[in-house]
Symmetry: C2
Subunit: 386 residues, 2 copies
């Protein structure tokens, strides 16, 4: 397998954009990523798109050629990958595989979602399609309620507290406030988080990520060719995609995601590093409890210690191992299909030292963790200085 | 790149199955393909799923891990690919790429669609998502009307007749009547085809393919390992996926699909064969005109000669180059996401000499052509005796 580098990134701001269509958002991100890589669309050899529910949100399916042609990419394989909230993480994994294996040299991976054209009940229903509809949703669950069950069990089993959940929200909002591309640039207090509207006990409004529109794109090529396109390549050191049961009730323990543990182990092995070596991470905080479980499953802390670790400030921008310095899904926003490539863009910005007000002190080895549903798909990517 | 072989196939009957769910159909096909390859689910290293619109048809998204776990495949990358009616053709292309490049050895590719739970207007609307919704559908087009425009232009430009379109329908129905897995096993006459209900001038009911439920799966591995699993491996000689504009009005000539021409050329080059060498083919006859254009774009006949060639009997089971000996989408059925892998199953059956009443005399080199939308995605696969 060949070493692979990210040579370009591009993203839209995440937010609620009444006047923007799905294709317009995606094409903006792809255009920016090509410019960043000093590449023309005609040079692109394959296009991968992560999108969760374009057909349900905006009625448009067959999205890969639809977006590729809009960005001037025509003729080559253009493929949409759907893996719930891990759609563009999975698209990145497959694009990486193809470049690493020598099938293509110059590949664009984009992610996009346009969610705000729908009313809240409809959004909740569409998102529920990432769960086991027959076993979970038709009997009354929604994603907030599934993660509420997970949170309750984590609190019961490990003594995790609502204050620890709220600490994750406060940290990510503080980070997002500094990110000009974030959806909600709003600092919140522990009290605000604890006393905001209850969504699904114990998760309040501020424990939940946002419903956003947005797109993010990444250009990759073999590391040996990266110098032709950029002076600041970022190396893909490890990447893995794994799968598990969709329904929570099939899992022996809902306080851990087996797919995340496995993807982490595989990515660490490929990169030749351990969890302790990772300097910073973007993890999938669709709910605050998800970030606490992620830092445990990725081995940043022992099982059950995620809550106290987060509350201690260790994951702050100035902490020992910053998590979601971008603001995460919580504050930066969660346009589902764009989240995976969005995380990779954030890690690349940090490694390049271009993260502006969010720039971290130690930034040479970062990790992105993208989760689909309640753990049925997981993608972990480790990126570092080339 | 390593040579790749198909070592197992499995399919459900195509039809309208009120009592069957999407997962049940897909799992049946995967189970059968694994049995055919003498493989246990735990041995599978990656799972690819082609599905067009599960979320819209049955409300379930995140389908790859949902189906993989149902078939006993867990932990490994499980990825859904959506490329309209070419979804499982594209899934096969990506699975082939990964095995050819040495990423995995044992891979399952499945395709599935469950369409009959919806009423006809809703099915038409969901299928329309494969077109450019803003440019084509919201101004009144449906897929029958898009292909009617294509047919009208082909008739105007090349003198193609309604009788020639009907000849395709009559042939494919005669073939499907012999296929125990076909949805509609009904022989029809030229008169029936010509005088059936008008759907979109000049396309009558019998010019249109069927709305079906069904699934089909294929197991592939490196050719050098095929002998461990089967005594009848079928070699993947060439395969290519291409893309083009989604909207018809972006195309300079709607009587030809540029993506099909390119995919055919690439697949022939990879296989080291010409169109003349192909002994038989399964082509994407979503409408009768699509088969006529396919045999032209694939180079079986010169541009404009598809109609007379079909009417001459050359594409019959006993003709010079049989096309859709299985009955095609027209009579075997068109469960959208299952069509690509379904075609590959049919070619494999022929190459193995196991096609029963549909078995062709010359069957050592076959081609499958899978089309997405009105030509925005194309996958061409060439298979032959190992």
């Amino acid at each position: 397998m060949r070493a692979v580098a990210v040579i370009g990134i591009g993203k839209t701001r995440f937010g609620a954009f009444a006047g923007r269509g799905l294709r317009s958002l995606a094409v903006e991100a792809v255009d920016k990523s090509l410019q960043d890589a000093h590449l023309k669309p005609e040079q692109v050899e394959a296009f991968y798109l992560g999108n969760f529910a374009g057909p349900s949100f905006v009625g448009q399916n067959h999205l890969a050629p639809y977006i590729a042609t809009g960005a001037g990419i025509r003729g080559v394989p253009a493929t949409r990958i759907e893996a719930a909230c891990a759609s563009s993480g999975a698209a990145f994994f497959h694009a990486w595989s193809a470049v690493a294996a020598g099938i293509y040299d110059l590949v664009v991976v984009a992610g996009v979602e346009k969610m705000t054209s729908q009313t809240t009940p409809k959004v909740t229903e569409i998102l529920a399609g990432a769960g086991d509809v027959e076993a979970e949703i038709r009997v009354g669950s929604t994603f907030p309620s599934l993660f509420a069950m997970i949170a309750n069990r984590h609190m019961y089993q490990y003594g995790t507290t609502r204050e620890q959940l709220a600490a994750v929200a406060v940290k990510n909002h503080a980070n997002g406030a500094l990110n000009p591309y974030a959806h909600m640039r709003k600092v919140i207090s522990i009290e605000q988080a604890l006393h905001s509207k209850m969504v699904a006990e114990p998760l309040t409004l501020y424990d939940c990520s946002l419903v956003s529109d947005g797109a993010a794109a990444v250009v990759i090529c073999p590391l040996e060719r990266a110098g032709e396109f950029t002076s600041k390549p970022v190396r893909v050191l490890g990447v893995a995609q794994t799968s598990d049961w969709v329904a929570l009730d099939e899992k022996p323990d809902i306080t851990t995601f087996d797919a995340v543990r496995k993807a982490g182990e595989q990515a660490y092995r490929m990169a030749g590093v351990t969890a302790a070596d990772i300097e910073f991470a973007e993890v999938h905080d669709c709910f605050t409890i998800a970030e606490i479980i992620a830092v445990e499953d990725l081995g940043f802390v022992a099982k059950g210690e995620g809550g106290p670790w987060e509350a201690s400030g260790a994951a702050d921008r100035t902490g020992a191992k910053p998590v979601n310095a971008s603001g995460g899904l919580k504050s930066k926003g969660h346009p589902v299909g764009a989240t995976g490539t969005g995380q990779i863009c954030e890690v690349v910005l940090q490694v390049r030292g271009e993260a502006g007000a969010n720039q971290l002190e130690r930034h040479s080895l970062g990790l992105a963790q993208n989760l689909g549903g309640s753990g049925a798909t997981s993608v972990v990517t480790i990126l570092g200085a080339a």
